[in-house]
Symmetry: C2
Subunit: 338 residues, 2 copies
Amino acid sequence: MTVVPHAVTAGREMVEAAMRAAVERLDPRMRRVAAYHFGWVEADGSAPRGPSGGKALRPAMALLSGRAAGADMARVVPAAVAVEFVHAFSLLHDDVMDNDRMRRHRPAAWTVFGVPAAILAGDALLALAEEVLLDRGTTGAHRAARHIAATTRKLIAGQALDLGFETRTDVSLDECTVMSMDKTAALFACSCSIGAVLAEAPNRLALALSGFGEDLGLAFQLVDDLLGIWGQPEVTGKPVLNDLRSRKKSLPVTAALGAGTPASTRLALLYSQPDPLTEPQLVEAAALIEEAGGRAWAESAADARIAAAEARLAEADIPGDVREEFLAVARFVTHRDN
Amino acid sequence: MTVVPHAVTAGREMVEAAMRAAVERLDPRMRRVAAYHFGWVEADGSAPRGPSGGKALRPAMALLSGRAAGADMARVVPAAVAVEFVHAFSLLHDDVMDNDRMRRHRPAAWTVFGVPAAILAGDALLALAEEVLLDRGTTGAHRAARHIAATTRKLIAGQALDLGFETRTDVSLDECTVMSMDKTAALFACSCSIGAVLAEAPNRLALALSGFGEDLGLAFQLVDDLLGIWGQPEVTGKPVLNDLRSRKKSLPVTAALGAGTPASTRLALLYSQPDPLTEPQLVEAAALIEEAGGRAWAESAADARIAAAEARLAEADIPGDVREEFLAVARFVTHRDN
């Protein structure tokens, strides 16, 4: 397990306090779902029995991007809150759409509060993401809110494409990459630049940071896809071989299916059978993906993306300590185990 | 049938053109769901076979509120687009949550494209509502976007409360009014003032228009609730006695249940039985609501709200022709049959 970088822990309390204050604006029902999702309470409203909640990478990056622009951390907290709310919105809705029952070692919100409450809580957090930014009357807040809205549009396009993949057998690696760019990398790009946008930094800086975030986000997704197949359930908080059970056309799977090897053909056969895959079939599918080169491809693609991200960061005119912390986040993303 | 007021038809083409241009930004899958929802295409993507789409009251009021502030209609079109997108977002999601299969004489979007696509399309339109406003860099656009975000929060609180009513037998008329205020009147209040906000009118004017919209919105909901029981399905586009079938605790139902008459008791008994209500039971429930005074109460409450709305409008310093058109919309709202 890699050590959590300083940037991720540094502003955590400040961001969480702001998140809690914003969630207080919601009506009691939505507040409860949101508090459960963020790991602040258990399902019955009692104090959490253990540490939970997400990795909070996105708010950390948002704060870093503010510091990259020379802004005081406190000034860009709304940007960190906004990206974490958009992330939460997408998780709450995706779990409903993908029928995923586990999230961060706990039952997904929809299994606890019902589908309608999970949909509504996602809606509420999306609207609240805009509101916390627009509460500030500055030009930077205006631009940051627009950044969030445009990013949300991409994120939705990615999820729509992903859902479309479910019924298709001809998904190309290019399409799958476009999907991951929209579904994951877009919010990383936004997170890595929104602090700078809020702080009214020059466009050039925001673009460089956004480019860094985009490459980092794709690397993150590649690692996520690998963990979705070969991750330890007790660490990831999701059921073993979860992505294969739902026959997700993730990047390593798509690479394996398109590799043209005998293992690719057998994998395609397994993925196209109508009945749910048995446990032995899931294990076989994972082995076939590895045999067809999907695992090795994803691992080297993640490394390449991190290298590209680092190159993009090298172009950005930012303080040395901020650069170091961004790089630590990048290393954390590729070496994490959950 | 009441004649559609001039205000509703006047800016319709301009608003629809702007809506279509904004929807073009969405990815093809979401674009298709949105186009179907707005009645621009049939489910298979072909040209619509007949007139459909909604009444477009909210965009009409948004344009009027811009004119109330002396703004050119073209300048406040984004406000009209934004409120119609938020309305569409809420309908797309509510139909999923409420399991409503019909909308505007056609199958609801989720029955055609599936639940995930309907959820995502709603999400996309909510984000797009913010984006069309924030595309303008003005202070008015910033405030209007914030207005939309805060209104969405209320709308969600109302829907959450409404969903909570389903499992309760002790809903008071006060609670039901609060629910309708949030679920319906908030977006009416926003629609009647957002054009003025976008045009940077004085706060006082925006508040007066918002107050008018709030009363008008509650009147609208009361009429909606009456139509949900006694409306003609061929005119409303929804199944006969739809609200009673799902045992909605709408305003007339709640008034009847709380009236303390023998009919109230029989209605409570019907509403609490576990099996789906049969057609004769639905007809009986409607008769009991009328007998318990729920219908008469809702009719007179709607009239009282319209009178209050008119009084609020009288306080607003706006051009005479705009006032006349607002009043025409108010009359249309109470005398409509769909």
